[in-house]
């Protein structure tokens, strides 16, 4: 009996191993070929110049040579601002909209949900074009609308001034992507069992205090997830700036973020020849920044959070 059951366990272990290989193998292979290997190759490329190994020389150059470090720190600083605007505007708006949408008995919730998510499905090129047109000092409706609201004097060529261009772009991106935190948080809110909120209501809590004291703590893990997604997305951002301001990210590099700096460096621009090695160094730094942020979140925040399962 014992022998037989041992045999069965052995056989089933082998079968399990086979299954694991069968099910994970293809994904692992594809992931390795198309994601892990390019990443490693990028790091290898960043340690070379014209095929010769130079160790960390490219990074030393990136951080210390003024021709490289100036643009790099500028791009990193702009990227931090870009991220900060998303955290300060996009995610709170997402949370508020999700909270309103998930209120029981709200009429037309599905319509609002669709409308609010619509911009996320638009191409960045279209979003960039529409906003550029609206904000155009020549033909844009921006000035007319602001004049109608009595603040026409505040209208400026927002996308053309170094002081306003970056924040304007960030807000355009917020408009487009507010649907993502909205949907994730909305789903988390719907997941909260009604008996919890009902119990609170029976105890005399208002909608607002139910949100603050019951719902918000329960969706904290999702907010953390949204934050980390925002972080990864923003430090990888490129397309909106490139679409609206081009690869030179004007005015005066005021909208240059790591993505556009990488693009110019790696592929070159106009007469500027591409430099695959320095480009790979910029990409590696971007990877390091994103990795550090994600790890910080993973070990610093997520592990301390309690997940509620209902």
């Amino acid at each position: 009996m014992a022998e037989r059951s041992d045999g069965m366990v052995g056989a089933s272990r082998a079968a399990v191993a086979g299954h694991v290989l069968l099910f994970l193998g293809p994904a692992a292979a594809i992931y390795t070929v198309f994601s892990v290997w390019p990443l490693i190759d990028t790091i290898i490329l960043s340690a070379q110049v014209d095929g010769a190994w130079v160790g960390a020389a490219n990074f030393t150059r990136l951080f210390t040579d003024p021709a490289w470090s100036g643009p790099f720190w500028n791009a990193l600083g702009n990227n931090v601002v870009f991220f900060a605007v998303h955290m300060a505007v996009q995610n709170p708006i997402g949370i508020v909209l999700a909270a309103i949408l998930s209120l029981p008995g709200l009429r037309g919730a599905a319509v609002y949900r669709t409308i609010l998510f619509l911009p996320t499905m638009l191409s960045v090129v279209i979003v960039g074009f529409i906003w550029q047109l609206m904000l155009s000092p020549l033909w844009g409706v921006g000035k007319t609308l602001m004049t109608g609201a009595g603040v026409g004097g505040w209208f400026q060529p927002f996308l053309g001034q170094p002081e306003t261009a970056l924040v304007t772009l960030a807000l355009m991106s917020v408009w487009q992507f507010v649907g993502i935190p909205l949907m994730l948080i909305y789903a988390a809110l719907l997941n909260i069992p009604e008996d919890l909120t009902e119990a609170a209501r029976v105890d005399g809590a208002s909608h607002l205090s139910i949100f603050w004291r019951v719902k918000l703590p329960l969706i904290a893990p999702t907010i953390g997830l949204v934050s980390v997604l925002t972080f990864v997305g923003n430090f990888n951002a490129f397309d909106l700036v490139y679409t609206v301001k081009g690869a030179l990210a004007g005015p005066d590099f005021a909208t240059d973020i790591l993505g556009t700096l990488f693009y110019r460096t790696f592929f070159g621009f106009q007469l500027q020849p591409g430099d695959p090695n320095m480009g790979a160094a910029v990409a590696t730094v971007m990877f390091a920044i994103i990795l550090a942020g994600v790890l910080l979140y993973l070990f610093g925040v997520q592990r301390r959070m309690t997940r509620h399962t209902f």
């Binding site: 003024p66 021709a67 490289w68 550029q132 904000l135 155009s136 000092p137 020549l138 033909w139 400026q156 060529p157 927002f158 996308l159 053309g160 001034q161 170094p162 301001k245 081009g246 030179l248 004007g250 005015p251 005066d252 590099f253 621009f269 106009q270 007469l271 500027q272 020849p273 430099d275």
Partner: protein
């Protein structure tokens, strides 16, 4: 296989007794021009050389360099190669993909400045035939000029007086340009008026030789003049893009448009008012004038082509007056670079072209050699010009920044 050989034999038999078929394929990024080549230029060539069959094969502009490189390396590229200016083609020549054109009959019809874009740094070997250039200047709305009683300015003082007058009158934007895309500030601003300051080729060569610096008076003075432009550009010009500027002028809402000659066809299609052009005004009456006559397209021979002689025959034909005239009239705004006198049917294009007779031609000073390093002079010029116009940077600071950037990697400027 047998069918193909039979067909080929039949073709050979019909094409002439004992004469091997000569076929040439042209590689180009000018897919917009395919019609002109197929219906005008190649038939004209065939009336002189019926024995050579020419095919025009275009690749979309954005893919051209990569596709051409791949085909050259794989040995499948066409016999004639349309050449990008400067370093892109120089690299192809250095890799042995292009036949040196030294001694090609007809090459003497081209001035040195036209050949600079396709000549080795030491000036010894030319590897592509200059085909077309674009000329910078200013276009103006004749209707507005008539209405406000303005005349074409010859000097810079007259130019600014004119802009002042349009501004004071208030109905029109004096100068249709923006700084949002940055390149217009450099290309239609700095490189447009600059040659009058640095003396065209002389100044351009001096920068390459290191005998002049970007902080020298002529360069600072160009930037100082540009700094005065901002006051005459439209409201919110810092957010005005190149298409915005084109539309502004095309709709008849602006008096003067700092132009590249390629804009002619844009406004022929858009504008319902008569427009003209004038060259960059000189600094003082009687000064010699210089124009940016920028080399843009060339054509060379694939070194691995088996049709070297036929290819040279074609290129020699291209050096002649017939090609110059056909090409220039088919594509108003792109000008042939040979010395032949060409008459154009488009009056604005003819006006641009006529400046060659009274002014000295030069090319953009950042294009040859000086944009090979980091920071890149051309890209730096975009930012510097835009920032000077918008007032974000003083002309002196901008010049210092440009010089520092160039000196950082270019030995003759250290």
């Amino acid at each position: 296989m047998t069918v193909r050989t039979t067909v080929l034999a039949a073709l050979l038999a019909t094409s002439g007794l004992g004469v091997a078929a000569q076929e040439l394929t042209i590689e180009s990024w000018r897919n917009d021009d395919a019609d002109i080549w197929n219906t005008t230029i190649i038939p004209a060539f065939n009336t002189v050389h019926p024995e050579i069959k020419v095919t025009f094969q275009a690749t979309p502009p954005a893919d051209y360099n990569a596709a051409l490189n791949a085909r050259l390396q794989g040995g499948t590229a066409g016999d004639l190669i349309t050449c990008r200016p400067f370093d892109a083609s120089l690299t192809l020549f250095q890799q042995g993909h292009l036949t040196p054109l030294t001694g090609l009959p007809g090459l003497e019809n081209f001035p040195e400045v036209a050949k600079a874009a396709w000549t080795t740094d030491d000036g010894a070997t030319t590897f592509c035939l200059p085909m077309a250039s674009v000329i910078h200047g200013f276009m103006y709305n004749r209707a507005i000029f008539d209405e406000l009683g303005l005349s074409v300015p010859a000097t810079e003082a007259e130019f600014f007086a004119l802009l002042e007058k349009v501004k004071a009158e208030g109905s029109y934007t004096p100068l249709a340009m923006g700084t949002a895309d940055q390149w217009e500030a450099a290309t239609m601003g700095f490189q447009n008026i600059g040659p009058n300051y640095w003396g065209g080729e002389q100044g351009r060569q001096a920068l390459i030789a290191g005998t002049q610096k970007l902080t020298d008076p002529p360069y600072v003075a160009v930037l100082e003049t540009l700094a005065k432009w901002g006051a005459f550009m439209g409201d919110g010009y810092t957010a005005q893009t190149y298409p915005d500027s084109q539309t502004l002028f095309g709709l008849g809402r602006a008096a003067v448009y700092p132009a590249g000659s390629w804009d002619i066809s844009t406004f022929r299609a858009q504008a319902d008012f008569p427009f003209g052009a004038f060259p960059p005004p000189v600094r003082a009456a009687g000064d010699p004038c210089y124009i940016s006559d920028h080399t843009d397209i060339g054509i060379g021979i694939n070194a691995k082509s088996g049709q070297q002689e036929a290819a040279k025959t074609f290129l020699t034909w291209m050096t002649g007056p017939e090609f110059a005239s056909l090409f220039a009239n088919s594509l108003p705004g792109f000008f042939p670079l040979s010395n032949h006198q060409v008459t154009l049917t488009d009056d604005v294009a003819q006006e641009f072209l006529s400046w060659r007779g009274k002014c000295e031609s030069t090319i953009r000073n950042s294009y040859q050699i000086l944009s090979r390093g980091t920071p890149n002079l051309e890209n730096e010029l975009w930012g510097a010009s835009a920032n000077v116009i918008s007032g974000a940077l003083s002309p002196a600071d901008a010049a210092a920044k440009l010089q520092d950037g160039l000196a950082a990697w270019y030995a003759p400027q250290k």
